[in-house]
């Protein structure tokens, strides 16, 4: 328990590094490490959404490529991000771009799989009646399939977001100093610094999860929400 309080203290107060020569800890430093962490995670998640959601909608709408969409998830998780970074090193060096690419590849599978599944589970009768009303393909996607698939899509984004925020801790091994720095450099930050950074990363992941959960509820079509409430009571 004492370790825990030491770690909390590290977050709020600056002190001399155990190795000497540097000042570590305090809100200022935590923020300095958190800002690149947020930038990296945000950029990766944004790019992953921009790729995976349209692709998933299209594949789901056409009812094709299910094998790809579903198995992408398993393959994506099988390749470690550090291995990807080492692989990309040969082409784009280390740094923000390399890390973003690695994290994008980590984030795509859950979003893609969920989007595809979300579209496929839309009631075929609903789609048929939309077509019967004279909607075109793109209209069906935008006004019927996407809204109905939203809860699942958000589920995918939440999974990816937590993965990305947690994995961004490896960034100091490839050119960007994030909250992973105190976790990797225990000699400089001490045990309390390592635990403090882990706590901040965990809080960040929880906060992301909560924020996206709120966004998900806001984005769920009213019709679906009513149905849920009825189902509960």
């Amino acid at each position: 328990m004492k370790d825990f309080f030491d770690a909390i203290d590290f977050i709020f107060s600056e002190r001399e590094s155990p190795a000497g020569g540097a000042r570590v800890g305090g809100l200022g430093e935590i923020w300095e490490l958190m800002w690149p962490h947020l930038k990296l995670s945000g950029a990766s998640l944004g790019i992953a959404c921009a790729i995976a959601i349209p692709l998933g909608l299209w594949l789901g709408h056409k009812g094709r490529g299910g094998f790809l969409a579903i198995n992408a998830s398993n393959i994506g998780r099988a390749v470690p991000s550090l291995a990807l970074i080492a692989f990309f090193l040969a082409f784009i060096g280390v740094g923000f771009a390399n890390l973003t690419l690695a994290l994008v590849l980590l984030a795509i599978p859950p979003i893609l799989t969920n989007t595809y599944t979300g579209v496929r589970q839309v009631d075929r009768d609903t789609v048929d009646s939309a077509r019967g009303m004279g909607m075109t393909g793109p209209q069906i996607v935008r006004r019927v399939e996407l809204p109905l698939a939203l809860p699942l899509i958000f589920g995918g984004i939440r999974t990816s977001a937590v993965n990305v925020v947690a994995t961004a801790t490896i960034a100091p091994l490839a050119g960007v100093t994030t909250l992973g720095d105190p976790i990797i450099n225990v000699n400089t930050y001490g045990d309390e610094g390592r635990l403090a950074a882990a706590i901040v990363v965990a809080l960040l992941a929880v906060a992301t999860e909560v924020a996206l959960g709120t966004a998900q509820r806001a984005a769920t079509p009213r019709g679906l929400r009513v149905k849920r409430r009825e189902a509960v009571t």
């Binding site: 000497g20 020569g21 540097a22 570590v24 060096g93 280390v94 490839a174 050119g175 450099n185 400089t188």
Partner: protein, 327 residues
């Protein structure tokens, strides 16, 4: 290519033997042990077997990276040649694990770096580390003694941080020592391990001691530090003096003219009870083995394991044979 390598080895051996030949002025402290002076003798070139040692069991440990495993194997095979009953335990994780194993009696000895011992075991901060090799060893030895451990005389090689550049960069800016970087540092990108950023024997020291302001510092995994230099992403990279890539890739290591990097000579740390039981042959053997272990030789041995994919066991055997210690 192969021929070239052998020539290089030959040159190294000649150098090693020359060092060994000049260095036999160590005082002989073989008065407390069980063995007589006809055991190991540096004057006769090779390690000689002493049957009296067969009753002494030794377990040699090491940490879990290449250089340590090679050192562990070298000591194990050399001591075995001197007649001891030797076993090994060569994958003990980090220094804290190794020290625990040593204090608990699971192993009899393992090689540790003077700088690491002072920083990690004895609470010395980086700014207080002595820059003199002998002084660092004396301090570590005194601290180990309090734990009932004996630090045997250290190796000539130093496994410390060093500033590395490619041959082209060195030629372009006329770099020989770290101070030469001063006028050009603003144009250069420095790469180093993540912990380099806040270490006095790394980026902080380069800024404070040498007054260098690099264009940018980029943290990378230890394993990538040579890759980025080779690929031209890094202008300057912090490498270890005994990294095998240094020689193979023709990197130029700049001279630390202000003595900023603390010494990391390797010393075999042995339990006191083992020292008493093993007698004089133990230290003699270790000293004979250490003599040839210069920066260049250690780089080459590491290279054979990391780059040529030979086993530490084989490489250790080659070293002992090539340096004439084991027939």
């Amino acid at each position: 290519m192969r021929k070239h390598r052998w020539l290089m080895l030959l040159a190294l051996l000649v150098a090693a033997l020359a060092v060994a030949g000049c260095g036999d002025d160590d005082d002989d402290s073989g008065d407390g042990g069980t063995s007589s002076s006809n055991g190991v003798s540096a004057d006769q070139g090779g390690i000689q077997k002493n049957d009296k040692n067969a009753s002494t069991k030794l377990t040699i440990g090491s940490k879990n990276f290449t250089e340590q495993k090679v050192l562990g194997e070298i000591y194990a095979q050399a001591l075995s040649a001197a007649g001891y009953d030797v076993s090994t335990q060569l994958n003990l994780g980090d220094e804290k694990t190794a020290l625990k194993a040593l204090e608990g009696g699971d192993i009899s000895a393992y090689p540790e770096y003077t700088g690491t011992a002072l920083l990690s075991f004895f609470g010395v901060t980086a700014d207080k580390l002595p820059s003199d090799e002998a002084q660092a060893f004396d301090e570590a030895k005194a601290d180990f003694a309090k734990k009932n451990l004996t630090a045997l005389p250290p190796t000539p090689f130093v496994s410390s941080n060093e500033v590395g550049v490619t041959k082209e960069t060195a030629d372009k800016y006329g770099l020989e020592k770290i101070s030469d970087l001063k006028p050009v540092a603003g144009k250069l990108t420095l790469y180093g391990s993540p912990e380099c950023r806040q270490r006095l024997d790394c980026l902080l020291g380069l800024q404070q001691v040498y007054g260098l302001k690099f264009k940018k510092f980029v943290p990378v995994d230890l394993a990538l530090r040579h890759e980025v230099l080779k690929k031209g992403q890094a202008d300057v990279s912090i490498v270890f003096t005994t990294d095998p890539q240094n020689k193979r890739e023709g990197f130029v290591l700049l001279d630390d003219d202000k003595g900023m990097f603390p010494p990391y000579n390797s010393t075999l740390v042995v339990r006191n009870d083992v020292v008493d039981k093993a007698g004089a042959d133990l230290q003699k053997t270790v000293e004979m083995v250490n003599k040839g272990l210069t920066d260049e030789v250690m780089q080459e041995l590491n290279a054979r394991v990391d780059l040529d994919k030979e086993t530490p066991e084989d490489v250790a055997g080659q070293y002992l044979k090539e340096s004439g210690l084991v027939g």
